[in-house]
C-alpha cells in the first residue's frame, strides 16, 4: 500500500515540475513537441531510477561528507550512458534534445531525489519513488508540450489536428509560449487544488 503511495505521489500531488518547481529548464526547453517531451521524460526517468537504486544501495558505504560529489558522479555516469546509447540508436531525438541530455546531470529533480529520498530509504521504496517522480516529470513535460504543439503548429505528435487553414499561434511554440503555458497550467492546478479560496 505504501509502495503504491510512493509511486503515485509524484504524478500530481508532489509533481516535481508543477508543485515543486524543479527541473524547469528541460520542462520549458524541450516541450515544443510531444515527441521531444516523451524522449526527455524517458531519459530523465531512466537516470532517476538507476541513480535512485544505486544511491540507495550505496547509502551506507558513502561517507556523508563527500556524498554530494559521489551522487554527482553516479548521476553523471548514467547520463553519459543515456547520451551515448541515444546517439547510437535514436540519433534524431538525440539531436533535437541536444545540450539538454548532458544537462540532465544538473536537473534538480534527480539530485533532489537522491539527497531527499534514496539516501534515506530502502531500495524497493527508492525504485517506486524514482519511477513515480520520473512519470510525474514526463506528465508535466507532455502536458506543456500538448498545448504548445497543438496551438503553435496545429499538430500533435507531428500529425495535423486542426484544418490546414488554421493560422498557428506561433508564439506558443517559441520561447515565450513555454513560460506562458507553464504559468497558466500551474495556475490551473492551484485553482483546482484549493477551490475553497475562491
Amino acid at each position: 500500500m505504501s509502495l503504491i503511495k510512493e509511486l503515485t505521489k509524484g504524478f500530481i500531488k508532489e509533481n516535481p515540475v508543477f508543485i515543486m518547481a524543479l527541473g524547469l529548464c528541460p520542462a520549458l526547453a524541450v516541450s515544443n513537441s510531444i515527441e521531444n517531451a516523451i524522449g526527455m521524460g524517458g531519459a530523465a526517468t531512466f537516470v532517476l531510477l538507476c541513480s535512485n537504486i544505486l544511491i540507495s544501495l550505496l547509502k551506507n558505504f558513502i561517507p556523508p561528507k563527500i556524498r554530494i560529489p559521489c551522487y554527482i558522479v553516479v548521476i553523471a555516469s548514467f547520463v553519459t550512458i543515456v547520451d551515448m546509447t541515444m546517439n547510437a540508436y535514436l540519433p534524431d531525438l538525440h539531436r533535437n534534445l541536444g545540450i539538454f541530455i548532458p544537462l540532465i546531470v544538473v536537473n534538480c529533480v534527480i539530485l533532489g531525489r537522491a539527497e531527499a529520498f534514496a539516501s534515506r530509504n530502502s531500495v524497493l521504496k527508492s525504485i517506486f519513488d524514482g519511477i513515480g517522480m520520473g512519470i510525474g516529470f514526463t506528465i508535466a513535460l507532455v502536458a506543456v508540450a500538448f498545448f504548445r504543439e497543438l496551438l503553435g503548429a496545429g499538430q500533435l505528435m507531428g500529425i495535423q489536428i486542426f484544418p490546414n487553414n488554421y493560422q498557428p499561434i506561433l508564439v506558443a511554440i517559441l520561447a515565450p509560449g513555454a513560460f506562458l503555458t507553464l504559468g497558466l497550467l500551474m495556475g490551473l492546478i492551484n485553482l483546482f487544488k484549493k477551490p475553497e479560496t475562491d
Partner: protein, 192 residues
Amino acid sequence: MGNIFTLAISAIFINNFVLTRFLGLCPYIGVSKKLDQALGMGMAVIFVMSMASTITWMIHNYLLIPFDLVYLQTIAFILTIATLVQFVEMVIQKMAPSLYKSLGVFLPLITTNCAVLGVSIININESLTFIESILHGIFAGIGFTVVLIIMAGLRERLDKSPVPESMKDLPISFILAGCMALAFLGFAGFNI
C-alpha cells in the same frame, strides 16, 4: 574588437541564457524575489561562469582530447564545477569575509545551476577559442544577471498588485517571464 562586441550582444541579448536558451531557470525563478538577493546571485554566477569556462576549456582541450576521453566530458565538467564552487567559497571566506556574507548563501546553489554546465558545453560544441570561451562565460553571466535583476524588480512590485489567488507567486512569475521572453524575441532577427 568587433568580434568581442558581436559576442557580447549575442550572449546577452540574442541568445540570452535564460529567456532564449532556457538555462539557469531554477535560480531565475527561485532567487528573484528580492532585488539585492538577485544582485548577489548574479555576481556570483558571473564569477563562477567565467572561471568554469576557462577551466573546462583547458580540461577539454589539454586532457580529454589528447587522451581520447571525450566521452567523460559530462563527468569531468560537473566535477570541475563542483570543485571550483567549493574552492571559490573557501577563498572568498578567507580573503573577503564581507563579500562572503553577501554571496555565501548562493554559492552552493550554483553547482546545480545548469547555466554553468551549459556554458561550458556550448563553448566546446561551438568550438570557440580559449579567449572567446572566457568572454562567452562572462557575457553569458552578465546576460543572466540582467534578466534576473529585471525579474526581481518586477516581482517586488508584483507583491503590491492584486493577483488572483491561484496565480500568486510562481504562476504569475512565469507569465511575467513569458512577457520578458516576448520582448527578447525581438532581438532574434538581428544578424551580426
